[in-house]
């Protein structure tokens, strides 16, 4: 498998997980939330200053269908993470001289 094919396959799987599989995630409280409830400090949580974001809580504001809303939010999140992390690592990388490229 070429590196390009590997990268594209990985991206496709990533989009599938964020856009489709995420809808089927467990809705149970997760470890920290559960532990916070068990030991009695859950109510000290405050709303994030970003709570008004149109993507808050992994949904797109104004999209009613939960499957579509969550899926779109996941795809936007993948794109944002890819651009930021990919951009950062591309800037930081050591450039290989053209003669040594595979």
């Amino acid at each position: 498998m070429s590196r390009r094919a590997f990268w594209l396959t990985g991206l496709l799987l990533t989009l599938l997980v964020a856009g489709v599989v995420s809808y089927h995630a467990s809705a149970s409280p997760d470890g920290l939330e559960w532990a916070a409830g068990e030991s009695g400090f859950a109510d000290t949580a405050q709303d994030s200053a970003a709570a008004g974001s149109p993507l808050a809580d992994y949904g797109v504001a104004g999209v009613d269908d939960a499957r579509v809303s969550g899926g779109l939010a996941g795809v936007v999140g993948v794109a944002a993470t890819l651009v930021l992390a990919g951009g950062l690592t591309l800037v930081l990388r050591r450039r290989t001289p053209p003669s040594a490229r595979d």
Binding site: R3, W7, G10, L11, L13, T14, V17, A18, V21, S22, A25, S26, A27, S28, P29, D30, G31, L32, E33, W34, A35, A36, G37, E38, S39, F41, A42, D43, T44, A45, Q46, S48, A49, A50, A51, S53, L55, D57, Y58, G59, D64, A66, S69, G70, A73, G74, G77, V78, T81, L84, A85, G86, G87, T89, L90, L92, R93, R94, R95, D102
Partner: protein, 256 residues
């Protein structure tokens, strides 16, 4: 580590299912001095990571690091049940460190947490330093440290490598949970029994760690089976002679 916020005052009908995937430390759990301290620690570590990652990143590794961060973001959305009405999700710190290197992993985790906090209101903004400390530094550091130790101890085979990564991934989750309890002991706002917090956090995160190990080993095994040369933590398994069989690569040519 991981948590969405139970809101006692939430309206009776939540807007939708999407509400159910919030996963990190929210604002309010820890006091301001503790949040400032973890913020400073995270900022210092990220500065170091920006330098360290240069050694790990080249033309081959950089695009994979971006993809790995996006993959971690995606998989973190998928909470899996761990029994007793509780769920967990992949942290991905250990997996990322094995795939792309520990310094790059710190940067990848930080970007994921930043995107989650700013765009998705998952994890508080004042708690960003705490989340980077727990999931970026502790999970990556413990996960990668255990991995390297076991790589050194175990047979230098694919199975040994997967076992080392699985153990690192497993331990990284309770380690991050314990680190949270430590922060809570210092700067927790609520006046509750620390023993109760420790017992609840420790128990459930051991279970979540099992899921972390299973997912990490599955992903690593898949990458190893198609392109082992792209796994930074597997470099010790690869000799030029093994790689020479791959078309387009000449014997003795370096792959990294």
């Amino acid at each position: 580590m991981c948590n969405k916020v139970a809101r006692g005052t939430a309206p009776a009908a939540p807007a939708g299912r999407s509400l159910e995937v919030r996963v990190h430390v929210p604002d309010g759990f820890l006091d301001a001095p503790t949040s400032l301290a973890t913020g400073a620690l995270a900022a210092g570590a990220v500065t170091l990571a920006l330098r360290g990652a240069r050694r790990e990143l080249d033309d081959r590794a950089a695009p994979l690091a971006g993809l790995t961060a996006a993959f971690v973001f995606a998989v973190q959305m998928v909470n899996f049940p761990v029994g007793a009405g509780t769920s967990g999700h992949l942290v991905g710190g250990a997996l990322t460190a094995v795939l792309v290197g520990p310094w790059t992993a710190v940067l990848c985790m930080t970007v994921v947490l930043l995107v989650q906090a700013v765009l998705f209101a998952d994890g508080g903004l004042t708690a960003l330093g705490t989340n980077v400390t727990l999931l970026g530094l502790v999970a990556v550091g413990v996960g990668y440290g255990v991995f390297r130790l076991l790589v050194w101890l175990l047979p230098r085979t694919r199975t040994g490598l997967l076992a080392a990564a699985g153990a690192g991934a497993f331990l990284s989750v309770p380690a991050a949970a314990l680190a949270f309890v430590g922060l809570f002991a210092v700067g927790g706002v609520a006046d509750v029994s620390l023993t109760a917090v420790l017992a609840a956090m420790g128990g459930v995160h051991v279970l979540i760690g099992i899921g972390e190990a299973l997912i990490s080993v599955a992903v690593l095994g898949a990458v190893l089976s198609v392109r082992p040369d792209l796994v930074r933590g597997a470099a010790h398994l690869l000799r030029p002679a093994d790689l020479a069989t791959r078309p387009g690569l000449r014997a003795g040519e370096t792959v990294r």
